[in-house]
Amino acid sequence: MAGGSVIAQAEEQLRDGLESAAARVPGQLGRASLIGVALAYVGAFLVLPLLVVFVAALSKGAAAFLEAIQDPDAVSAILLTLTIAAVAVPLNLVFGVTAAWAISKYEFRGKGALITLIDLPFAVSPVISGLVFVLLFGAQGWFGEWLAERDLQVIFAVPGILLATVFVTFPFVARALIPLMQAQGREAEETALSLGASGWQTFCYVTLPNIRWGLLYGVLLCNARAMGEFGAVSVVSGHIRGLTNTVPLHIEILYNEYNQVGAFATASLLALLALVTLVAKTALDWRNSEGRAPQHKPVA
């Protein structure tokens, strides 16, 4: 048997060698042109747009750049964006962990439908995501009168921006965790419980360490979207400078005023955030593929 496998191996090596020798000349040409096409496409659609943001931001020098991002309206927009993300991300984080726990640890009817419903906000246009809350809380909305009587404002105010952001970023954490926790099963938790741990201890000391990288992954994407959301926030914000302007809305105003340097300087902050997100996401991807690779092989 051992001899048979050696012969088979040699045969395969010989065949591979002959094939690649035959395929080498036209193959290399094709290979180079394929790589060329891919690089050109990625260059025109990904690299250059990213580059142009930083070049335009610094086109009038560092002083103009610094002035633009220290403008009081820019600073208040940055603060508002940070505040919105600081509330919206934890809300969806708690939901994501809870939903992933329910879906991955128990069997119940309608699970597939529940997962589809959680994905729903991804299928909704950002503008419609904003409109939905205008119809509920706007002046002509269902709760409009009730809110007006109590002097509460949701639409064209910070609560509306928060609601729209929560809606738009709703699925990210749940989506990152559900497949991960389903793959992990519930054996570790059951063992911890049988050893006398409480439910909460089991979650904190067994589940949480197991899902921390997946959780971080979901939070990263959720945060990037929360800080960058434009369409939904644009509908509910009212664009009041210094009050209800988030960073993306501030960029739009500057751009429409033909303040190129200001718009691109502010945009470069969000582009930096995107780069940080990408680096962290890539690091997590590599980490995951290293951890997961040995598990995948026996299945194939």
């Binding site: 096409v37 529940l114 950002p126 939905v132 205008v134 059951e190 809305l249 997100t277 194939a300």
Partner: protein
């Protein structure tokens, strides 16, 4: 044994209850309210609003440009995914990481960046101008913005399937005398196309509702380069809430149908892969 232990873990009621409550408050109730509000208009008015020439033109543009962008990404996204999985070259890992940029870059930033790039005086626009190709402020600009948004959907759906592809089959085809192209067409492509279709459908569905990256580059001329989400926005600014809602509900119905179709497509693709 594991069946009996299925409910041993505590927190079923709490976690499922909270999941359904939060889902209802944030997503289901607001969306249902939108559908209910659209009925206030009456069927006749609803149809009149949705079939108004300007609205129809915008829906056609949103869906048409998204389709074109999906096709463009179907071809070039395929090549990008292929090159990233099959070939080793300097900068491969960097390009691989960069594919996710459209997920991470805020749409407004993408919008002004693409406009600056493809405007007549931009880096690429000034190269295309002498060839008579105008990108920014035309419907072509919309396709460019949507191609940017959709690229990662196609590449990321194809990559794992490409990586799992059984190279033995290609060797066998080659050994039997098939040319490279015949091997690709008859052996490789049939295994890949369900994933390709899924990726394109995901990109299409995301692009149909896209707003931020498009409005800067589009020019926004009614009947020519005005996308459907922008028409909703304009109606809202003119306080025509009922009309905006009617268009929104039409788009939601189309998007949800698309989402269900994609779910079915993914199931089918997975099953096909499993059978293989």
């Amino acid at each position: 044994m594991s069946r009996a232990a299925a409910r041993v873990l505590p927190g079923f009621g709490l976690t499922l209850g909270y999941t359904i409550l939060y889902l209802s408050l944030v997503v289901l109730i607001p969306l249902s309210a939108t559908f209910l509000r659209s009925t206030e208009l009456g069927l006749e008015r609803f149809i009149a609003v949705v079939t108004a020439p300007r609205v129809l033109a915008s829906l056609q543009l949103s869906f048409g440009a998204s389709l074109l962008a999906a096709l463009l990404n179907g071809v070039f996204g395929f090549i990008v995914a292929w090159v990233l999985v099959r070939h080793e070259f300097p900068g491969r890992k960097l390009i691989d990481a960069l594919v996710d940029l459209p997920f991470a870059l805020p749409t407004a930033v993408a919008g002004i960046a693409l406009t600056a790039l493809y405007a007549p005086n931009g880096w690429l626009g000034s190269l295309l101008e002498p060839l008579g190709i105008k990108v920014a402020f035309t419907p072509l600009g919309i396709v460019v913005a949507l191609a940017f948004i959709g690229l990662p959907f196609v590449v990321r759906t194809l990559q794992p399937v490409l990586a799992e592809l059984d190279r033995e089959l290609e060797h066998a085809a080659h050994g039997l005398g098939a040319t490279g192209w015949a091997t690709f067409r008859l052996v490789v492509f049939p295994t890949l196309w369900p994933a390709l279709l899924t990726g394109c459908a995901l990109a299409f569905s995301r692009c149909v509702g896209e707003y931020g990256s498009v409005i800067f580059i589009a020019g926004n001329i009614p009947m020519v380069s005005e996308i459907a989400p922008l028409v909703i926005m304009t109606k809202l600014e003119q306080y025509e809430y009922a009309e905006a809602t009617a268009i929104a509900v039409t788009m939601l119905l189309l998007s949800f149908t698309l989402m269900l179709a994609i779910n079915a497509l993914q199931l089918w693709a997975q099953r096909r892969q499993g059978v293989r």
